[in-house]
Amino acid sequence: MPKLLLAVVLLSLAACLDPAEDGNLVPRTADEDPSIPQLSFNGSTFHVETFGDPTAPVIVLLHGGPGGDYRAMLRLRNPVNGARLEDRHLLVYWDQRGTGLSERHPENEITYDAYDRDLTFLIDQFSPRRPVVLLGHSWGGMYASRYISMHPEKVAGAVLMEPGPLTGALFSEIKSEMFDLDPVSEWLNDYVWAQSIVSPDDHARADYLRGLGGFGDLQPGYHTSKTDREPFWRHGAVAAAAIVAEGMVDGQPAWNFTTGLDRFTKPVLFQASELNTVIGIDFQKRQMPFYGNARLEVIAGAGHDFPWTKPAETVAPVLSYLDSIGF
């Protein structure tokens, strides 16, 4: 009888789903699913989609995070008064290394240098003879700034949608306002309690748990929508941790993505949301002088997720900006 019981238990466990297997808790990535639009380069397989005429000027989109994905930027394809970004441009959407539906990597393979090489490859692939416009939201705006500081010749312009702090020093100034880790908040206790049931011991489970954290109200000052939440495919927990860690020296925020930005004299469009009290209008006014030629557009009635919640109001000034730089 005990042997029979043991056999039943073992058979039952064998029939259980594997939490580490992609496709169960989180979607498969491009390297595992050939139906996902993809491109392989630099030793990785990326989730990449393009929209528009392949011969048109190229806009490369850089999603937020780090560790996010481009799903929340797809409404930027919506028409504004009958005109769409992709009518006159080729839009290159992609999930950054180790995020979204792109292939997963160990933490030591997610570095600033790898991110730099990945973006260079995409620019050379889709626009080998002409500089591109970078359009980055939040972390994507930081990524764009770092790239511009290192490769200004590859960039014709930039739309920086409420970028996070471009230096560690700026981050230190605002970090107390940035995160609200109220120890008695229900979402935080839900998150830490969930770790006693699902451990972040592989990519699938770590990404899954990060999704739960993403539902929490970690940054109330950003005033993101609770009724029209930004969608995502799959968080990149390891990539997020690696990128954050690389910006730290002895536990202190030490990145500086502004070195050399003064060499970039082409016009840059900053966008800021009216409601974000942390990295909104006032904060972006402090960041704009890192560039030689920047102007600001405010997205009224929106929080930090304005590319998702206010796509028309976001795209309209982008179209005007592109016209103004002849792109």
């Binding site: 789903l17 989180v26 770790q195 451990s199 972040p200 011991d201 899954y208």
Partner: protein
């Protein structure tokens, strides 16, 4: 006698021969065989924990209910019911071992879960009538977990998330110290230590700390 009967007899003999130990950090007062306790603190969330234990010879059986208490949500809790024995003893120095099946429930924005697991712990240390201090080395393993995904996750995250029973969704290692001081029938207990996943990846927060009180009768 078959092997199982012999083993039960051996346990019974040990229970009679060895002085009673306690789940507490100190020895129970003379004549007491049961205790109730309450702990408050941080251990995978802010928790309130209520326990009952009944001492049987050198061991005890216990039941323990843990409720995350930041905001009262009865869909999140854990319950374990198990036993503890004194495996080795020399004077007031003891090595105690415990084992218990555990059930954990949660309901959050992403999923609801019912997790079935086991918890084992070794507690070597000093245990006298007045005070005690022991190392706590624990391991909890979720063997099978039933997950149901929320409409929110399906709408804004992964629509293909699979509901059902999952094997081995998690495991937590714990290492810390537990100390106690007895005042008559009451004992005050303080415990603190570190937590990691079973593969030594960090959890948030990576430490625990509880303050408790028990009453023996």
């Amino acid at each position: 006698m078959n092997r199982q009967t012999s083993f039960a007899s051996l346990l019974a003999a040990l229970a009679i021969a060895v002085p009673a130990t306690a789940q507490e950090a100190t020895n129970l007062p003379e004549g007491a065989r049961q205790s109730v306790s309450v702990e408050l603190g941080l251990q995978s969330a802010l928790v309130t924990r209520a326990s009952y234990s009944r001492h049987i010879g050198s061991g005890l059986v216990y039941g323990r209910f843990t409720l995350p208490s930041a905001s009262l949500d009865l869909r999140d809790f854990a319950f374990e019911a198990g036993g503890q024995i004194t495996a080795l003893e020399s004077g007031s120095w003891k090595l105690q071992a415990s084992f218990a099946p555990v059930v954990r429930l949660t309901d959050n924005d992403l999923f609801s879960a019912t997790a079935l697991g086991v918890r084992g712990a070794l507690m070597p240390g000093y245990q006298s009538d007045r005070w005690g201090l022991m190392l706590e080395l624990g391991y909890e393993k979720m063997i099978a977990t039933h997950l149901n995904h929320s409409a929110l996750y399906r709408n804004v995250g992964y629509s293909g998330a699979k509901d059902g029973w999952y094997s081995s969704t998690g495991g937590t290692l714990q290492a810390g110290l537990r100390g106690g001081y007895r005042l008559g029938r009451a004992e005050l207990t303080l415990a603190a230590g570190v937590l990691t996943t079973e593969r030594l990846n960090p959890v948030q927060p990576p430490f625990y700390g509880t303050l408790g009180s028990s009453y023996a009768f």
